[in-house]
């Protein structure tokens, strides 16, 4: 037994976030915690580490076996030290492990009560044998390889990495720890299909080594591929748990059923969407697709294969009849590397163009260029034939960008609803009262109730913040909305409703959408056309 939890309860401000959760996990076992956004997965996951967010009180019993616990948090950017090169930190961890191993004389001894203790190890970090340097080097290389992180990124600071790359750094950190238990909170949301599949393979390998895994995820395909057992959470309680196959294929609880049933159907109205696409253009869809035999009748098998419905990708140029947004020969990069080498695209009013590409291929960079946050080296961006204003507030009235990292995009000191409302005040000239009302309504539409939104960002779940960020952008009533992985943290039900909302806005208000996503289902559901960026 690696982990035993009973009667776990977390409360904040008299409200239970998690209640009565009991879990058990044996070595080499994988437990998936699924459930709606805001259902308490992250809170539970932290509790397994003996941690909790500020203002949250946790009671109950958690017993953990001796040995390291690795944690892959939901928001990698918030746990990466901004002033440390990622490689340096990895080396440091490896060195601490090395020293720790010598001090401990090996790990995995007798079990002890973990309780809430932090279980901090005294790792020597000064001394080291002759071989230590090489050994550390070797371990870091190994972890980085397993996390699919290119070695040349190790010299960078976190802010110089793409969202997916940051996530892989955090993953590499976890792999270095040589743990007995890994708690992974949405470990692949930022990854393209290929890497995601590889990471899933790595997790399988870990499992084979006897490492227990707690997987908190919305990604049912991954759950299906990895989990031995599944626990379904709803409103802070485990409503159903059992062997993966049983729960996923024969859910007993209503909520589980609806969660599994909610899946995305492609739009039918858009003619472009029907065009067949070449297989090679979206290879990732192939890879993420779970093995046919694992797919239950009522779930993904019924979903049309993405490649059947995905719109036509064009890697260099997409043109539309009456382009609202037109990008021509956009070249952009960072100091260290060129990223975009001549990207052109156009989108008509009410059209949705999906931007695809491997993690690190420059999707976010492109989006930031359009939003005016990144200055391109060359190329033009026009809206209705006119170049976009350089002045950011003027531009922001027309083009809004929903950040990939929702948590980082909020001011931690003010309430979420207040921050959301400011968009209407600043960009639409609303009075504070009007803005507050508008914000309330919009937050309602994305599924956030008033008390939740009235809290500070730290007290919202990842998915909740993603929705708040979307609401904030929508209040600007922009002509063009750029969505950077806005559904990665959402469960299928909420995801569907969000996509419906976007679809509605697009149809009714002629909102032009630029959709960045790794999720082919989302692309298939919403996009008229696809732009694929090549990895640089």
């Amino acid at each position: 037994m690696i982990l035993k939890v009973s009667g776990l309860r977390a409360e904040a401000g008299g409200r239970a976030l998690v209640d009565g959760v009991s879990l058990e996990l044996a070595a080499g076992e994988t437990l998936a915690l699924v459930g709606a956004s805001g259902s308490g997965k992250t809170t539970t996951g932290l509790a397994l580490l003996g941690e909790h967010a500020a203002g949250v009180r946790v009671t109950g019993e958690v017993w953990r076996a001796e040995g390291g616990v690795a944690y892959v948090p939901q928001h990698p950017s918030s746990v990466l030290n901004p002033v440390r090169r990622v490689g340096g930190v990895l080396q440091e961890i490896a060195r601490a492990q090395d020293g720790g191993a010598r001090v401990d004389g090996g790990r995995g001894g007798g079990a002890r009560i973990g309780g809430w203790g932090s279980g901090a190890r005294i790792g020597g970090w000064g001394s080291g044998g002759r071989g230590e340097g090489a050994r550390v080097e070797e371990r870091v290389r190994e972890a980085v390889r397993r996390a699919r992180l290119p070695v040349e990124l190790l010299r960078r600071y976190p802010h110089q990495l793409s969202g997916g790359q940051q996530q892989r750094v955090v993953l590499a950190q976890a792999l270095l720890l040589d743990p007995v238990l890994i708690v992974a909170d949405e470990p692949t949301t930022g990854q393209d299909g290929l890497i995601r599949a590889e990471v899933i393979e790595e997790f399988r390998a870990l499992r084979a080594q006897g490492i227990a895994l707690v997987l908190l995820s919305h990604d049912l395909a991954m759950v299906r591929a990895l989990a031995d057992r599944v626990a379904v959470m709803h409103a802070g309680r485990v409503v159903e748990s059992g062997p993966a196959a049983a729960v996923l294929d024969a859910p007993r609880h209503d909520y589980t059923r609806s969660l599994l049933a909610a899946r995305l159907s492609p739009r039918t109205a858009t003619p472009q969407a029907t065009a067949p696409k070449p297989q090679a253009a979206v290879p990732q869809s192939q890879d993420i697709a779970p093995k046919p035999q694992a797919i239950g009748p009522r779930s993904w098998a019924a979903t049309p294969k993405p490649q059947d419905t995905a719109p036509e990708p064009t890697s260099a140029q997409v043109s539309a009849p009456s382009a609202v947004l037109a990008v021509r020969d956009l070249v952009a990069g960072h100091r260290r590397a060129p990223v975009l080498k001549g990207v052109s695209l156009s989108a008509a009013e009410g059209e949705c163009v999906a931007v695809l590409g491997r993690s690190g291929s420059g999707k976010t960079t492109l989006a930031r260029c359009l939003a005016g946050l990144h200055r391109p080296a060359s190329g033009t961006v026009t809206l209705n034939g006119r170049p976009l204003p350089r002045h950011l507030p003027a531009r922001a009235r027309d083009v809004q960008y929903v950040f990939q990292d929702a948590r980082a995009s909020f001011d931690p000191y003010r309430s979420v609803s207040a921050q959301v409302a400011r968009t209407a005040v600043r960009l639409r000239g609303a009075t504070p009262q009007e803005a507050a009302a508008k914000a309330r309504a919009m937050l309602e539409r994305v599924g956030l109730d008033e008390p939740t939104a009235a809290r500070r960002p730290a007290a919202l779940s990842g998915g909740e913040l993603q929705r708040a960020a979307l609401a904030r952008a929508l209040l600007a009533e922009p002509k063009v909305l750029i969505c950077d992985e806005i559904t990665s943290g959402l469960d299928a039900l909420v995801q569907a409703s969000i996509l419906d909302l976007l679809d509605e806005l697009r149809r009714d208000l002629g909102l032009t959408l630029l959709l960045i996503s790794h999720d082919m289902d989302v692309v298939a559901r919403l996009a008229d056309r696809v732009l694929e960026l090549e990895t640089t």
Partner: protein, 260 residues
């Protein structure tokens, strides 16, 4: 915890109460005696006045002038530092940073002694001038510290999100960057206040601001130093009051920072 709060509160309350109520408590001035002699509650000072009476009279100007000067330095320095820091973090605006900081560098590079002598010669003495001078000398440092703190806050995604909301500069700077560097400022202000206090004292020696025999704790400490071993109270009491004031302030600020 209550006992601890008591400590900080007492430290702060004694000088503040003396400063505010002192002038009412001080009676009519006694005739002067021999300088640095015993007699009265705390003996006499460098010009033979009663030290206790001077202590009672001397808090108000300390509190008023030093606090005003520090506030003024912050009122001017924080926006400038924020402006520079936020601009420095923005690729297109770095010139704003340069335009603000390089002239301030000049001000920093001019020895403050020269500045003081100079201003003493040019300005008519008076508390207002003094507040201005002390603020001016503290300004570049405040700006630099704010700039460094703002730079850290300004690089983040949250700042970009605010810009995309069309948020005003003030809201971004004060509301967000300012808020996130508040602990830094709070740590700095408590210390800077003391610096201002003694600058006031040395300025008075050069003929700026307060009269050299003004009833002011800092001036008292400065002027009575020659008799430090002869009549220690004339130095020790006002110095202790200043120490209590600043330690009390800093401890209180620390506690406030914890509560947030």
């Amino acid at each position: 915890m209550r006992r601890r709060r008591g400590f900080a509160v007492v430290l702060l309350a004694v000088p503040l109460v003396l400063a505010l109520a002192g002038p009412w408590l001080a009676g009519t001035p006694e005739p002067r005696g021999v300088s640095f002699a015993a007699g009265g509650l705390l003996g006499t000072d460098f010009v033979g006045r009663d030290v206790w009476e001077q202590v009672l009279l001397g808090g108000r100007s300390v509190v008023v002038v030093a606090v005003l000067a520090t506030l003024l330095a912050y009122a001017a320095g924080v926006p400038l530092g924020l402006l520079a820091g936020l601009a420095a973090a923005l690729a297109g605006r770095r010139w704003v940073d340069e335009v603000l900081m390089r002239p301030l560098d000049l001000l920093l590079a001019v020895p403050s002694l020269l500045l003081l002598v100079m201003l003493a010669a040019l300005l008519s003495p008076g508390p207002a001038a003094l507040v201005g001078i002390v603020a001016l000398i503290g300004l570049p440092e405040v700006v630099r510290i704010c700039r460094a703190a703002a730079l850290q806050a300004a690089g983040g995604t949250a700042m970009e999100a605010l810009r995309l909301q069309g948020e005003t500069w003030w809201r971004r700077a004060i509301g967000y960057a300012g808020r996130s560097m508040l602990p830094t400022l709070v740590a700095d202000v408590g210390v800077r206040l003391v610096g201002a206090l003694y600058l006031v004292a040395s300025a008075s020696f050069l003929g700026v601001g307060l009269a050299p025999d003004a009833s002011d704790w800092a001036v008292m400490v400065d002027r009575n130093r020659t008799g430090m071993f002869l009549q220690p109270w004339a130095v020790v009491v006002p110095a202790l009051l200043i120490v209590a004031l600043s330690v009390g302030l800093n401890l209180t600020f620390d506690r406030a920072a914890v509560r947030k």
